[in-house]
């Protein structure tokens, strides 16, 4: 492990951002853009110094042995979060993969900063713009260099924030502000998956570090973690599948894949250099980078990789179709970005990681170039991006035109431009893929989808090229009068990127034996220590590619090239002199339906609006109005308050200060008391003492009878008293016995007449008399007790009459 102050790489742009955002408004434009450009450029040069020096040494050393994980450069800045066993270091690591990304981000980023000084020169919020641009670069570098998933997540969300701010940069347009918000929220949906993926990985492995400098401490790459990925987690599937899918949801959001791609076309609301930097060259590639970074995880789930590749292929084709019918310059490029990102995902999804990253890199050059050139065109066209109003710009914008043509050839996959090499590697990778457990033609299906997408790409890119640069100019005279080539600050970056597009392809020459003998595929070797097995025994059960012969490779390359040429020729036939009548007939007649669908982006935005956005609002509104306002606040809270209030109102009626009403209450109350107080509550107990003989005990109760009473029993239910006694206070209870004539149930009543009020009360009970039985008293008593319970009747008003 080599220590290096990697912190400076993201810190320089961040410092620039802080400076411009805090003080920029007080400073001149010159100072603002000097600081901003210097910050990013310094970051690039510092990174280049680290890559060329210490990292190169480490790489050479690793190539000598190829056994362990390559150490690369590492810096532990400080411990960010630590709770119990859960520890997140703010640590950065530069290996060959992240080094490549850092160089691309800072190099393309510097060019775009320079370009912006020209493009945005009229902007009143100049300092804020450069502040955000710096902030974005810093966040992206944190994402790339972060050595653990939470630190990556800082950058991951940070770029989302900058995207939000920059898409909505001209926020006075409601639609632009909305586009910014849409981007942030769709990204957040992805981040939700990413966050849960982080949780799941820690749950399984106990660490979140991608690389651990300390051999005792495990990392996500350690053998123990790999063993955890292969364990069955849920429903018989490996943990790697679930973790892989969760992280891929994050990647879908960031890299605009189905179903979360919808934000990217709208993101074109931002200034054009922003589209070039964020929505083409860097931020959107974060998902691809992440999958490649986590290749050691994806390698353990064929299904996860198949999903990544499948989604990528579908996105590539679908976005390509959508691009056919767009009439806005930037929108065509936006869908083309979505489509190209799909290619990259197929690359990393079939295990051709080098190819995916290679395409990421070449795409960064030509797509940034395309956007910047588009900016240059729009600059010339007074800000309009409507390609139906362009045409013939070849002669007005010669430099932009040449550069644009080079980029178009690159993206169409024409040899020897960069796109040819990288796209070809992906296609070859897909063609040779054998995915265990998936249908045998899986790789071929991917290849067909991608080839169709490639055909589409060549076609729509050259449709764009012809509509903008050739034929007659279709704009109104006033705009035409203003057409001019852009200043050097803008064309300069275009030329540099065009040169880059010509050069970078040669970093990854095809794996043909006769080529490799003389010029090895540098990129593959460079990335080898950062991808998949790091020299460990290759992984059983995952996706791998069959090795094709030179002839096979050449055939595939020939087909790919042919597809590109066909696409270009088709576009040239239809659009080289402006939109031909064939196109007009087709879109009006046979292809009207398809054209309408493609033009309206398959109505996906409308669909999401119908099934997600609107229902969400309705549900929220329903929850608020029905549950919150009505049920909880009105029925329960106000309701209980109302009950208390009602009770208060009723009692208040008695307390209104009228003496008469008080008197009524007094009298009524007194009467009630008198009534209940004078009610005799007579009762008696009984117990069988002998054959047919029962003993009765009178209970005078606590009523007025307790002061003395006349007690009489009627044992035979004939209405006349059979026994009468007078009881005075202090006497023992009245006890008598009665012999019944037969066993069975008898109704016995007792009447009590108190000595004070002379009121009578009667209680009647059913007495069960048993024949003399040997097993005697206990049973009888028990029975009696229960009967007593059931027979007890309230004395009630009847007795008082």
């Amino acid at each position: 492990m080599k220590q290096a102050t990697l912190l400076w790489i993201p810190a320089l742009p961040l410092i620039g951002a802080a400076f411009n955002l805090l003080f920029g408004r007080f400073l001149s434009r010159r100072t603002v853009h000097l600081v901003a450009v210097a910050a990013v450029a310094a970051s690039f040069f510092y990174a280049a110094y680290l890559v060329g020096g210490p990292l190169w040494e480490a790489f050479k050393a690793w190539r000598g042995q190829k056994t362990e994980v390559m150490d690369g450069l590492y810096q532990h800045v400080y411990t960010w979060i630590e709770v119990g066993s859960f520890k997140v270091d703010l640590a950065f690591r530069m290996d060959t993969l992240s080094a490549l990304m850092v160089l691309v981000v800072t190099f393309v980023g510097s060019l775009i900063h320079i370009y912006s000084t020209g493009y945005m020169s009229e902007e009143p919020r100049y300092a804020a713009y450069f502040g955000y641009l710096n902030l974005f670069t810093g966040a992206m570098l944190i994402l790339v260099l972060g050595n653990n998933l939470p630190v990556m997540f800082i950058g991951w969300e940070g770029v989302g924030l900058c995207s939000y701010l920059l898409i909505g940069f001209w926020f006075t347009e409601e639609a632009f502000a909305y586009a910014g918000r849409k981007a942030f929220i769709v990204n957040r949906i992805g981040d939700f998956g990413f966050l849960l993926g982080i949780c799941l990985l820690f749950y399984a492995t106990g660490t979140l570090d991608i690389y651990s400098p300390n051999a005792d401490h495990p990392s996500l790459m350690s053998e123990s973690s790999v063993a955890a990925y292969r364990e069955t987690f849920f429903g018989g599937e490996r943990l790697a599948l679930f973790a892989g899918i969760l992280l891929f949801i994050g990647a879908c959001g960031k890299s605009a894949q189905i179903p979360l791609y919808v934000w990217l076309p709208d993101a074109m609301a931002g200034p054009t250099p922003v589209s070039a930097l964020i929505h083409a060259a860097t931020m959107v590639t974060a998902g691809v980078y992440m999958v490649a970074r986590m290749s050691f995880l994806y390698a353990h789930s064929t299904t996860a990789m198949a999903i990544v590749a499948g989604v990528g292929a579908l996105t590539a084709l679908m976005a390509a179709i959508m691009a056919f019918a767009q009439t806005d310059l930037k929108r065509v490029l936006a869908y083309s970005t979505v489509s190209q990102l799909g290619f990259m995902f197929v690359g990393v999804g079939v295990g051709a990681y080098t190819a995916g990253i290679f395409h990421l890199m070449t795409h960064a050059f030509f797509k940034a170039g395309l956007f910047l050139a588009a900016g240059s065109v729009m600059h010339a066209m007074s800000g309009s991006g409507d390609i139906t109003k362009m045409g013939g710009l070849k002669k007005y914008l010669p430099q932009t035109h040449i550069c644009f043509l080079i980029y178009c050839l690159a993206i169409a996959g024409i040899v020897p431009f960069a796109g040819f090499f990288s796209k070809d590697e992906i296609l070859i990778g897909a063609f040779g893929t054998e995915a265990q457990g998936w249908f045998p033609m899986y790789g071929k299906v991917l290849w067909i989808l991608l080839s169709l997408a490639a055909l589409g790409t060549a076609f729509y890119m050259f449709r764009l090229y012809y509509l903008v640069f050739s034929g007659e100019n279709r704009s109104d005279p006033e705009t035409r009068g203003h057409i001019h080539e852009s200043p050097l600050s803008m064309t300069g970056p275009l030329i540099v990127l065009a040169i880059g597009t010509l050069v970078v392809g040669f970093l990854g020459l095809p794996h043909l034996t006769f080529v490799q003998k003389y010029v090895p595929n540098f990129l593959a070797e460079w990335l080898e220590p950062s991808l998949v097995d790091f020299g460990r025994p290759s992984l059983e059960g995952s996706i791998h590619q069959a090795h094709a012969s030179d002839v096979g490779l050449l055939t595939l390359m020939g087909i790919a090239l042919g597809i590109g040429v066909v696409g270009i020729l088709l576009a040239s036939a239809l659009y080289s002199k402006g939109p031909s009548s064939v196109v007009a007939r087709f879109t009006a007649g046979a292809g009207a339906e398809i054209y309408r669908l493609a033009k309206n982006k398959f109505y996906v935005d409308e669909l999401y609006d119908k099934i997600i956005v609107r229902p969400f609002r309705w549900i929220a509104l329903g929850v608020f109005e029905v549950i919150d306002r009505f049920l909880i606040d009105w029925v329960l809270v106000e309701g209980s308050a109302f009950v208390v209030d009602l009770f208060g109102r009723i009692t208040r009626w008695f307390q209104n200060g009228q003496v008469q009403r008080y008197m009524v209450g007094l009298v009524l109350g007194g009467a009630l008391i008198l009534f209940f107080a004078t009610r005799p509550d007579a009762d008696f107990d009984w117990q069988q003492v002998d054959t047919l003989t029962v003993q009765f005990e009178a209970d005078v109760g606590k009523g007025p009878g307790s002061n003395g009473a006349e007690v009489s029993f009627d044992f035979d239910d004939d209405g006349t008293a059979d026994f009468t006694a007078t009881w005075k206070k202090g006497d023992p209870p009245v006890v008598t016995t009665w012999s019944f004539s037969r066993p069975g149930e008898h109704d016995v009543s007792m009447t009590l007449k108190d000595a004070v009020f002379k009121k009578t009360g009667t209680v009647e009970k059913t007495v069960v008399v048993e024949e003399a039985s040997g097993h005697g008293e206990a049973a009888a008593v028990e029975k009696a007790a229960t009967t007593d319970e059931s027979a007890r009747t309230p004395v009630g008003a009847g007795g008082a009459q």
Binding site: W80, E174, R188, A620, I632
Partner: protein
């Protein structure tokens, strides 16, 4: 009592002295009253920072304890102290008080003297309730808090201030009455078992109540705290109180007062009635998650900015409750961290709304739009509070939410509801549902931000709004600085809390492992069934009159129960020394150090 414990007492006493002092300021001397208020509250903050010096984060128990007998006949003590949990909440209180006093400089022009004094009194009550280590003392501070807040809303509030303030007070009182009854019950039971009548929290936590009684007692406490949190569905007082309260009231209400709910669960309800807490835990978790989603949904459809932020509090506090019952160190720290962060970010949001309200006297989103162009500095400050609240990594909100979701996700299945099919991972589902709060938070906050700040500056009355003044920047700056500091350097905060949280968990688990039976002390076997058959029957209802029934028995049955032959317990050294994360095994953790024996 170390000399340092007087420092803590000073934090309580200073604002009180200040409040009294201000009462002698002549009515017209508004600036003097404001000056004294700000000075005193700043001084209090500085003194409270001084607590960090003698406070030792490595010690898990309460520190700087100040203990004086208070009402001897009741056995109540004036006992205060701080531990790793309460220390940050005290800081938050002392930090926010000067901030709101400064923010109200313009907003409050009538009865300034009273306003300042009431705010200082509120500070006393809040700090008091955070540091009280005696149940009775806590209850006094708890109720004392209501009065200044009631006055703040009722005197300086908006149109429906009377309705809102009464709703606030009655809601809270309903909950706290049941709590008071339960305190009496606990007091009586403890007295019956030990012969010593006291409300000292440390002593009361050694009492083990019958499990059925614990459930009821927990419910009574939980109601009081759930209303304060406020947990869905006891939250409807909050939007009303917030909307009607003046900015200062809203900031304190959201920033500090709501924290007492979660803090109450942590400090009182869970340690005192662990079994009750364990029974309720799955439901608290579910309600917490429901609150996260519910708060977010309802926030989304508000037109009043303040109401939106009020509902967002329901959502954020749902995270706190979820983290608390997940019972992993990460989740509980996340819960505490979310409280701190919520205090700052939501406080900041309310301050921002206050700035708008002072200028426009409306809070309806439809009235604004495009303000960024007019007020760029304000917009930046506002945006930082919004992003902090939405949990952007690098700002404070993220740490709390992330730790909570994370801690819940990795927690074992100890809080599965009964009858839950074990193959469905309950904690992971909870964490997933809670994580949707991350999306929803962005949805409603950015929606609000767009409506207020973006779009064309179309409303005529917004075209001349001045940007924030230096005074207002001075109000925002410390808040925003802390939002950054908490997001970038959470470790110092977490480290102070860590040991206390670990101890909280291990204590809770060892208490939970206590044998069921009639009331007894921890670590001792419950008394024979027959001996206490009477109170077993009664154990269901928390009743104050139980005291009378128990008293004679207590005399003949002192601290140790009869037939006290500790049942074949292993010697302490042989007990497992690691607290197991998953199901609450009957293994007392080392730091808890309960007396040996008493193992079921």
């Amino acid at each position: 009592m170390s000399p340092a414990s007087y420092l803590l007492l000073a934090v309580l006493a200073l604002p009180l002295i200040g409040a009294i002092l201000i009462m002698f300021v002549p009515r017209e001397e508004k600036e003097l009253a404001r000056g004294i208020g700000l000075g005193v509250s700043l001084l209090t903050f500085v003194v409270s920072l001084g607590i960090l010096g003698p406070f030792d984060g490595r010690i898990a128990s309460t520190q700087l304890v100040f203990d004086k007998e208070w009402i001897p006949i009741l056995g109540t003590h004036f006992k205060i102290g701080v531990d790793g949990i309460s220390i940050w909440l005290v800081m938050l209180t002392t930090f926010l008080t000067p901030v709101v006093l400064l923010s109200a400089h313009r907003a409050v022009e009538d009865r300034v003297r009273e306003f300042v004094a009431i705010n200082l009194l509120l500070e006393v009550a809040m700090v008091g309730a955070f540091v009280a280590l005696d149940l009775f003392l806590f209850y006094v501070f708890w109720e004392l808090m209501l009065i200044p807040m009631y006055l703040l809303i009722g005197m300086w509030g908006g149109q429906r201030r009377v309705y809102a303030s009464i709703k606030f007070v009655i809601y809270t009182m309903v909950g706290s009455l049941l709590m008071l009854a339960t305190i009496f019950y606990l007091y009586a039971k403890y007295g019956a078992v030990t012969g010593e009548y006291t409300t000292d929290l440390d002593k009361l936590t050694t009492l083990v109540l019958p499990q059925r009684a614990q459930v009821w007692c927990f419910v009574a406490f939980a109601l009081a705290f759930a209303i304060k949190v406020p947990m869905f569905p006891f939250h409807t007082w909050l939007p009303d109180a917030h909307v009607e309260a003046p900015t200062a009231g809203s900031v304190i209400l959201a920033g500090v007062l709501l924290k007492f709910g979660v803090y109450g669960f942590m400090r009182f309800a869970m340690p005192l009635f662990p079994y009750g807490a364990a029974v309720a835990a799955p439901w608290i978790a579910i309600i917490g998650v429901a609150g996260i989603v519910y708060g977010a949904l309802t926030a989304f459809v508000q037109d009043d900015v303040k109401k939106l932020v009020a509902y967002s509090s329901v959502s954020h506090l749902g995270f706190c409750m979820l983290g608390l019952v997940a019972l992993t160190p990460q989740a509980i720290e996340g819960s505490i961290y979310t409280m701190l962060s919520h205090g700052l970010t939501t406080g900041g949001l309310f301050l921002a709304i206050g700035v708008l309200y002072e200028r426009r006297h409306t809070r309806r989103m439809a009235e604004f739009g495009g303000l960024w162009a007019q007020m760029p500095v304000f917009s930046a400050l506002f945006l930082l509070c919004v992003l902090g609240s939405a949990g952007l990594p690098g700002l404070s909100g993220f740490i709390g939410e992330f730790l909570t979701i994370f801690g819940t996700f990795i927690s074992g299945g100890s809080h599965f509801p009964e009858g839950w099919p074990s193959f469905i991972p309950f904690p992971k589902l909870l964490a997933t549902a809670a994580a949707t709060g991350v999306i929803l938070g962005a949805v409603y906050l950015l929606y609000m931000f767009q409506k207020v700040m973006f779009g064309p500056l179309s409303n005529e009355r917004n075209k001349n709004l001045p940007d924030v003044s230096w005074r207002e920047i001075a109000v925002f700056l410390p808040v925003v600085a802390l939002i950054f500091a908490l997001g970038l350097f959470p470790r110092p905060f977490l480290r102070v809390t860590e040991n206390t949280v670990d101890r909280f968990i291990s204590d809770y688990k060892s208490r939970l492992a206590e044998e069921d039976g009639p009331p007894h002390l921890r670590g001792q076997p419950p008394p024979e069934e027959g001996a206490a058959a009477g109170d077993e029957a009664k154990a269901g209802e928390p009743a104050a009159d139980a005291k009378a029934a128990e008293e004679p028995k207590a005399a003949e049955q002192p601290t140790a129960p009869p037939s006290a032959a500790p049942p074949s317990a292993a010697p302490p050294a042989a007990q497992p020394a690691t607290p197991t994360p998953a199901p609450p095994a009957p293994a007392p953790a080392p730091s808890a150090a309960p007396p040996p024996g008493g193992q079921p």
